[in-house]
Amino acid sequence: MSAGKLTMAQAINAALRDALAEDSSVVVFGEDVAQLGGVFRVTDGLHREFGESRVFDTPLAESGIVGMAVGMAMNGLRPVVEMQFDAFAYPAFEQIVSHVAKLGNRTRGKVRLPIVIRIPYAGGIGGVEHHCDSSEAYYAHTPGLTVVAPATNADAYGLLRAAIAGSDPVIFLEPKKHYFSKEEVDVAIPVPPIGRAVVRRRGNDATLIAYGPSVPVALAAADQAATEGRDLGVVDLRSIVPFDDETVCAEVRRTGRAVVVAEAPGFASVASEIAARVGEQCFHHLEAPVRRVTGFDVPYPAPKLEHHFLPGVDRILDAVDTLQWEDAA
């Protein structure tokens, strides 16, 4: 058990350590996760503490890692595997879509796959190409997968514990730009379950809807707006699938205005899905169309240019400004 100020990497490390200690069926494996502790040091020290049979390096092959996890889960273990980077999870895509997501269904629920696939994801770290994709839409689009994206270090701990303890496969998206940001984490305080969104900030004028790395940006935008006399709320989805329509829609119905914030390219995105859902369910409460502030529809840009791509406070506030306030007068 750990408490106090932890980075997100440390919070995830604590979750893995506590899960390994409490449940002998939990195994952790991937590329460079053992001796090195992972390229982001998320698994630091676990190999030393739990040994080669619980925490181990595999050959370099992502399909192999996920495919082997499927078999291990079929045989009673709880694999927690690490994909080294978002864009390097693609070789595992077939295993994830054709098997991880479907085996429970194909066996009429007889075989459940308690697998957690941890993916360091999204941008903001100045990574060279293939190191900063926001790939959540691929997974969220696949029935059978639970897709979780923590925004706080307490959630990183609590949601990962819940993901490992659950009976369904979870894609666990770790916003890598927050790996090294410190926050107070008290692991003894439980977080809401997977599937529940949380209102991070109550606001009466408009609701910002975000997840993962975009939550702190949305909160910063709300802070800024407050100084300009606008009271913005922020909903943190925490899990993209299951999607918490109830919490999101309750907030939007209250404020009548919504902006969705996400780093991924906006076309056919999770942000689009949220906008559509809110439109369908809150139409009579809306004072303006739901706006999306997302990445552009381009491959993730180079380090020198990524700040042009990432949704920032100004772009969010510009979108808020377009929410037809003139009609409210």
Partner: protein, 358 residues
Amino acid sequence: MSAGQLKAAITPARLLDETGRLVRGAPKPDAEALAEGYRKLVFARRLNEQCGALVRQGRLAVYPSSRGQEACQVACASVLSDGDWLFPTYRDTAAIAARGVDPVEVLTLLSGDWHCGYDPNEHKVAPQATPLATQLLHAVGVGHAARLKGEDTVVMALCGDGATSEGDFHEACNFAAVFRAPVVFFVQNNKYAISVPLARQSVAPSLAAKAIGYGMPGVRVDGNDLPALEKVLGEAVARARAGEGPTLVEADTYRVESHTNADDASRYRTDDEVTEWLPRDPLLRVKTYLTAVGALDDAREREIHAAAEEMAAAVRAGVGAGSPADPGEIFAHVYSTPTPQLARQRAALRAELDAEEA
């Protein structure tokens, strides 16, 4: 790697030749056990024929036949113990039946339902895999997990010649070898991947020879020779159980029928080629041998065929006879607890159906 190991990976092992005679120096098979094997071969052949008929009647959506490969189908199941696992493909219905799963259950998927039909945990048989070679990695995972738990489970992982070109075949062989996983990779080289002949998949000296690159033994065996298959696969299983790691076994066999009923093999191979393989039939040579050594007479032959007919009749009666699929169930197993969205979608479909009934 020794010259002997290379030879084993290239020259097919054989015990019974095409004329049903023991090859020189081969140990005499136990006649009673072989007669039991013959019964299973007849069942496998009958099941293939019955399924073909069910397709023609529109009662199965599709059937990839293992006609000509029955010795492989029987052997890979018979060398396993109860606690071992089998990872079959779409073509291995007869192997699953040989493992003891009710063929009617096995045919659930091919009859047009959405699930595999049997309980994988009960029979230690994975659902039939269609995405080529993907199941091989699952087999490695089951085997590695067994090792970590201190169990002596062995996993038999099946695939075809075409599937050896897939990346997952490579990853599975490599993972199994690196982790010394108790897996037997069993490639039924039936010479075709739908229409594409072996020469377009690989120019390796043999498919079994690929094992050498992974640091595991590779063994090539006559895939129409039941005793040789049981010997080679049995030895691979014993190695795996003893903790000595995986083996890659390639069976040299032939797909006598089209890829499935929907395929037209005349577009890519000649009748002569097929005809050439027919004398190498896996049933014929066992029958000839057993008859010669006096272990199979007309009465026993009749008894075996009568039992196979009974099985076929049960398949005819059973396929599609269960209660019709419940449309609401498509939502039930996507997650262990349906999400609120799925619960709403299920209710919406229910309402549609109720309205239609009203």
